[in-house]
């Protein structure tokens, strides 16, 4: 794994350790294995479940691409700046370099923090997610309010064998809740299970 030295060290005891080496027999891909649980049965958990650790690399890739585009645009700006103000040129390059180094550090380090901040659990028919590094947010969704659930797999997510669940309610300002970075096959089972708990008495 590319950035394996940045893997979480799990200092919070409540975050479940995800075995790194558990690979699927058939596909050889790593799986999010919920410890002590048979694969077919997902049950309510009082403990927050982490996302699939591969999501960190997905985030590094997407954030990296976005920042790279931004940095390239800025580089063009620096070039133009040098042309018009040659005496400031080196300063501009230095500033750009500093930004670039900062971006690289951010891209490598931030997804780890974001991953550690992410967790979800289901207790008493309520799905609870928490996320956010600086601005933290806990969302609680009574599963009987589920209108429909989308399973999303973008091309990059597919590359990593991941999927996102988007849960929709009839609400207004927080009408949907997204759980990113789930192992693809697990996401399907989780979706079916959530819908089943919710029952069919939603509108």
């Amino acid at each position: 794994m590319l950035f394996s030295y940045l893997m979480p060290r799990h200092k919070h005891s409540q975050v479940r350790v995800v075995p790194q080496k558990s690979r699927c027999k058939h596909t050889g891909t790593r799986k999010l294995m919920l410890k002590d649980q048979p694969e077919s049965a997902i049950t309510e958990q009082p403990i927050f479940q982490p996302l699939d650790p591969r999501v960190m690399n997905l985030w590094r890739l997407t954030d990296g691409l976005a920042l790279a585009v931004l940095l390239l645009l800025l580089l063009a700006g620096v070039g133009i700046g040098w042309w018009f103000l040659p005496e400031l040129g080196l300063w501009l390059v230095a500033a750009w370099g500093l930004l670039a180094v900062g971006s690289v550090v951010l891209v490598l380090w931030y997804p780890l923090r974001a991953y550690r901040a992410w967790g979800f659990r289901v207790t008493e028919r309520v799905l609870e997610t928490r996320s956010g590094v600086w601005f933290q947010r806990t969302q609680l969704l009574p599963l009987t309010r589920l209108q429909h659930v989308d399973l999303e797999r973008g091309p990059l997510e597919r590359m990593f064998g991941l999927a996102s669940l988007v849960l929709h309610t009839a609400g207004t300002h927080a009408a949907s809740l997204t759980i990113p970075g789930l192992e693809a096959e697990y996401a399907v089972r989780l979706r079916d299970w959530l819908v089943q708990i919710g029952g069919d008495d939603a509108v």
Binding site: E124, V126, F135, T144, H173, V203
Partner: protein, 505 residues
């Protein structure tokens, strides 16, 4: 003229009915065509007459044909618990609206429609995309029949506590003329002036010349220049006089607006249905099942609070805010009511609220300090900016805002709070103007806790409660500065209780 046939069911309620639009639909087509012709009048008077006549004939026949096609192609029927509408000539479009999804039925009668005894009916569902079906126009009896059929269907739903049959309507509240005047005086003047302007505009827009706005702008510009030339004192006097005139006119217009809009306002409860009927020129009636209410807001603006009055607003899941809602009075459930009366009226909207009581709880006192700190930082910035422009003791003036904001924040804090009872969450906020939100726990869609870095340092969190339809009650109940543990417990309780209930619209 009855255009519908019905077959009575077991308990006298029509179970099947079918109909088409009222023949007067054609007359309204002619009327619209005529209105279009008025726009061509200037062209006829000053421009090429033949062009005007040709264009007029074209437009007139166009609107006549549209109305004719609509009348001859539109069908509706009530069948198997669904309202089915069919329209279109070449391409038949069929729309099925399950009656239990109907949120609100609105009937509207303009002046001409009242004279002719016909009604425009709009049927709203939870789709939030505006009216699901518009039936324009129906006979008055037809519309009433449709409304009763939907209501009767709702009464037969298995979960509904009301027995089938036509319930006797009971008047909840009527607004007298004096109350309407009061509502006008204490309302937002500008808005009411817009009501009048809008009404006049409907009649006038076809008659005004095209460059009307340009002329007005030019006139205003020349007046301002003239005044400036006369010296500052005169200018000030004229401005003051102008403000006074605007205030007086504004009050006058808002009283007139309130009377025109809400004349004869009656809120009636008929079984599970809340019915509003109001309007002097255009009469509006809406019928809203009370179990559809997602959030109720008791709104006390400054002027009204001082007089001990309030307004009630309600959101249903279908509501989507539209520009003309305020002008049509759709956004208020009851435009004016004594604050002391509200508590007795609440069970009309929420029948199981009566037996519930809960004590009001406050948020953390840190709220006062935080709000004042924000003002302090801003005023310090103000001092710095002032000092750089003009050094001197006067630059310290912005600091006066700090004690002032402390006093305001202290008062606001005292009136901020929440109360959670078995089935309802209440939140209140505001000092000069106050708002109280009541949310049935069964209508809670999601709960959210947010913590900014500052929140985390102080161990606080903000609570957001999400419900369907927040068009008129001011964007969802929220509460800041809760101690984290309390906020978590409250969020958990709300979500778990909501999960244990069934959400029906």
């Amino acid at each position: 003229m009855m255009q519908s046939e019905t077959q009575p069911g077991q308990n006298g309620q029509p179970e099947w009915m079918a109909g088409r639009l009222h023949p007067l639909t054609l007359v309204f087509g002619v009327w619209q065509g005529l209105r279009g012709l008025v726009a061509l009048l200037p062209l006829f008077l000053v421009g090429n007459r033949w062009w005007a006549v040709g264009l007029g004939a074209f437009l007139f026949t166009g609107s006549l044909i549209t109305a004719g096609l609509r009348y001859f192609s539109f069908r509706y029927r009530l069948e198997g618990g669904e309202l089915i509408t069919e329209e279109g000539v070449l391409e038949r479009k069929q729309r099925h609206i399950p009656l239990e999804r109907v949120q609100e039925i609105r009937l509207e009668q303009g002046l001409l429609q009242r004279l002719l005894g016909v009604v425009e009916a709009r049927i709203e569902t939870a789709s939030g995309q505006g009216p699901e079906a518009t039936l324009s126009v129906l006979g008055r009896a037809q519309a009433e029949q449709l409304r009763q059929a939907v209501q009767a269907h709702a009464a037969q739903l298995p979960r509904s506590p009301v027995a089938a049959g036509t319930p006797t309507p009971e008047v909840v509240r009527r607004l007298s003329l004096a109350e309407l005047v009061l509502a006008g005086v204490t309302s937002n003047h500008l808005l009411s002036a817009l009501v009048i302007a809008g009404t006049l505009w409907n009649f006038a827009e076809d008659l005004l010349p095209h460059n009307f706005y340009e002329q007005v702008a030019r006139w205003l510009g020349s007046q301002v220049e003239f005044l400036w030339a006369q010296g500052a004192a005169t200018a000030l006097l004229v401005v003051l006089l102008g403000v006074l005139i605007v205030l007086v006119l504004g009050t006058f217009f808002s009283i007139a607006g309130s009377i025109v809009l809400f004349y004869g306002f009656t809120l009636t409860r008929s079984g599970e249905d809340l019915q509003r009927r109001y309007g002097l020129l255009t009469e509006r009636a809406s019928s809203l099942p009370r179990r559809r209410i997602q959030v109720l807001a008791i709104e006390e603006t400054l002027l009204r609070r001082l007089c001990g009055w309030a307004a009630l607003r309600a959101d249903t899941s279908g509501t989507r805010q539209e520009a003309q809602d305020g002008r049509q009075g759709r956004d208020v459930l009851l435009p004016l009511v004594r604050r002391a009366e509200v508590e007795q009226l609440l069970p009309v909207c929420f029948p199981d609220l009566a037996g519930e009581s809960a004590e009001w709880r406050q948020v953390s006192r840190l709220a006062i300090r935080r709000a004042t700190l924000k003002v302090a930082v801003l005023s310090l910035l103000g001092v710095v900016a002032w000092w750089f422009r003009a050094p001197g003791w006067w630059a310290l003036a912005p600091l006066l805002a700090i004690p002032l904001s402390y006093a305001i924040n202290l008062q606001s804090y005292r009136h901020l709070g929440y109360a959670l009872s078995e089935r309802y969450l209440r939140l209140r906020r505001g000092w000069l103007g106050r708002t109280t939100h009541i949310v049935p726990v069964a209508k809670v869609q999601a709960v959210e806790l947010r913590q900014t870095p500052f929140d985390r340092r102080l161990g606080l969190a903000s609570l957001y409660v999400d419900t369907a339809g927040q068009a008129y009650t001011g964007g969802g109940p929220r509460l800041g500065n809760l101690p984290l543990a309390e906020a978590q417990a409250l969020a958990q309780t709300l979500a778990q209780r909501a999960a244990a209930t069934v959400y029906k619209g």
